[in-house]
């Protein structure tokens, strides 16, 4: 009778251990899943940081690239700019022609 009870106790202990193990396994998997989520979250959180340098680099490159097609000539820089020309135009002196008749 005692022997049967011991066996039952051992089974209970084993079951408990298995449950504990299973719980541990589950917890550990949950934990790794959480860690992955954290990593993803972190990565996502870091992405802007990681991406920022790219646009920054592009921003840094872009003006250089555009600068290659835009004129570096000061003359052209002004003379292709309508607003600049309007702002810097000399005042128009009205010349009254004294010509009479067909020229």
């Amino acid at each position: 009778m005692k022997k049967a009870q011991r066996i039952q106790n051992i089974k209970t202990i084993l079951l408990s251990l298995m449950l504990v193990l299973a719980t541990a396994v589950l917890l550990s998997s949950c934990s790794s899943s959480a860690e992955t989520d954290s990593a993803v979250a972190l990565q996502t959180a870091l992405e802007p940081t990681a991406v920022i340098p790219t646009p920054t680099e592009e921003t840094a490159v872009a003006p250089t690239a555009v600068a290659a097609t835009l004129p570096t000539d000061e003359c052209l820089l002004c003379h292709i700019n309508k607003d600049e020309l309007i702002q810097t135009a000399d005042p128009v002196e009205e010349v009254v022609s004294e010509n009479e008749g067909e020229g």
Binding site: L76, H79, I80, N81, L85, G101
Partner: protein
């Protein structure tokens, strides 16, 4: 042509010009100046019109054209001197040169005045964002200068007068007849023009109507003057009338141009006694193998004996050396005209011909080479004498401002 705003005159097309051939050349190579964002500094020693010196700025890439430049009338204005030399005397030429510099030299046109910008004479200004146009614009280049006569005639700007048929129906531009070779001072090819016996001893022409015609109507209308088409008047008249005698309508003549310097502004100016639409047929003063016409159209030019009186007395002593009614080629060609409506729309029509009574008394001597002594008789008189029959054709239509059209019914009942 509306005047350009100051910024419009100087605006370069940033999309097209930098990629063009001339856009590959640094601005300073032609325009001088300095590299600076400050306008005054940048414009120091600026050369606004580099092609004033084509030998320096155009020669390297366009040697063939620049080599002709000394013969280019747009550049050398030699046509003025052809006339001035004959009407003035050498001892006055220094004074005449001063007058010329003040009043006539503004007609000088550079390469850029035709190919990049509007002519300086009308205020300049880039036409197409500094793009170089091989073909000048009809209105913004050619008639910008040649406007008061040719432009107004050709484009039909005179009230009640149609535009030239070549423009109205053909939309032809100046350059379609007046080639780039002609503009630059060289005929397209010598053999194209020099086909006559006279060419055995060809000398450079010293007058626009001296020698071979270029352009000439017959280059396109081949059959018209040799009587090989179905038009009776072409067969009857052949080459005794210039094409314009039958095919042009009223055009501008001017009287009495006087030049002076303004006391208030110091600017040179001119004043003419008058300008008017007229149509006059006269004798051909420059008859030649290539211009065999008995009759041509005449236009009164505004020279007078005191035209240059501001600069001195009697500076036009030889007014009579040349007619004041000059051989002209109006640019308002029409297929049907009042004077060609019928035989007697012209024959017997005294209003059409420059007779002595229509010439200012002080200009009669000058115009002896062109004055028509006796106008062609009406056909009825000719038929009565010769015994031929001419069928009257199209009825007269309005168009000549100073011409009284005599209908066939009135003239030849």
């Amino acid at each position: 042509m509306a005047p350009l705003e100051p910024w419009e005159k100087a605006l370069v097309n940033g999309e097209t010009y930098p990629d063009s051939v001339h856009g590959q050349i640094p601005c300073q190579n032609c325009h001088g100046g300095r590299q600076s964002a400050d306008k005054a500094e940048a414009h120091t020693d600026i050369i606004a019109r580099p092609s004033d010196d084509p030998e320096i700025y155009c020669q390297e890439c366009h040697p063939d054209v620049v080599a002709l430049n000394e013969n280019n009338l747009h550049d050398n204005l030699a046509g003025y001197w052809t006339i001035l030399d004959q009407r003035t005397v050498p001892e006055d030429h220094e004074t005449i040169a001063t007058m010329f510099g003040n009043h006539c030299s503004s007609c000088h046109a550079t390469c850029g005045d035709c190919h990049v910008s509007q002519p300086a004479l009308v205020g300049g200004g880039l036409i197409d964002g500094h793009m170089f146009n091989k073909t000048p614009s009809l209105t913004r280049n050619c008639t910008a200068c040649h406007g008061s006569r040719v432009g107004n005639e050709y484009l039909g700007k005179h009230e009640d007068l149609q535009a030239d048929v070549h423009f109205r129906q053909g939309r032809m531009a100046c350059i379609d007849c007046h080639t780039g070779h002609e503009m630059h001072g060289q005929p397209a090819a010598c053999e194209d023009c020099h086909t006559s016996p006279e060419t055995q001893m060809v000398e450079p022409a010293n007058h626009r109507y001296d020698g071979v015609q270029s352009p000439r109507c017959e280059s396109c209308h081949i059959t018209a003057t040799i009587g090989q088409d179905d038009i009776e008047m072409h067969q009857v008249h052949g080459a005794d009338l210039s094409c314009q005698v039958c095919h042009s309508v009223a055009y501008t003549s001017c009287d009495g141009c006087h030049v002076a310097i303004s006391e208030t502004t110091g600017n040179p100016f001119y004043a003419t006694d008058g300008s008017y639409l007229d149509f006059k047929i006269g004798l051909n003063p420059l008859k030649s193998f290539d211009r065999p016409y008995d009759y041509v159209t005449l236009r009164h030019v505004p020279i007078s004996s005191d035209s240059f009186a501001f600069y001195g007395d009697n500076l036009v002593p030889n007014l009579n050396a040349l007619p004041t009614w000059v051989y002209t080629t109006p640019h308002n060609i029409q297929r049907e005209t009042p004077q060609a409506a019928s035989c007697n729309a012209c024959h017997g029509n005294a209003d059409l011909f420059l007779t002595v009574d229509q010439v200012y008394p002080n200009e009669v001597e000058a115009n002896q080479p062109v004055i028509v002594p006796v106008i062609p008789a009406p056909i009825s008189e000719i038929t009565a004498t010769v015994g031929i029959t001419i069928t009257e054709g199209i009825s007269a239509t309005a168009g000549l401002t100073t011409t009284t059209i005599i209908s066939p019914t009135e003239q030849n009942p």
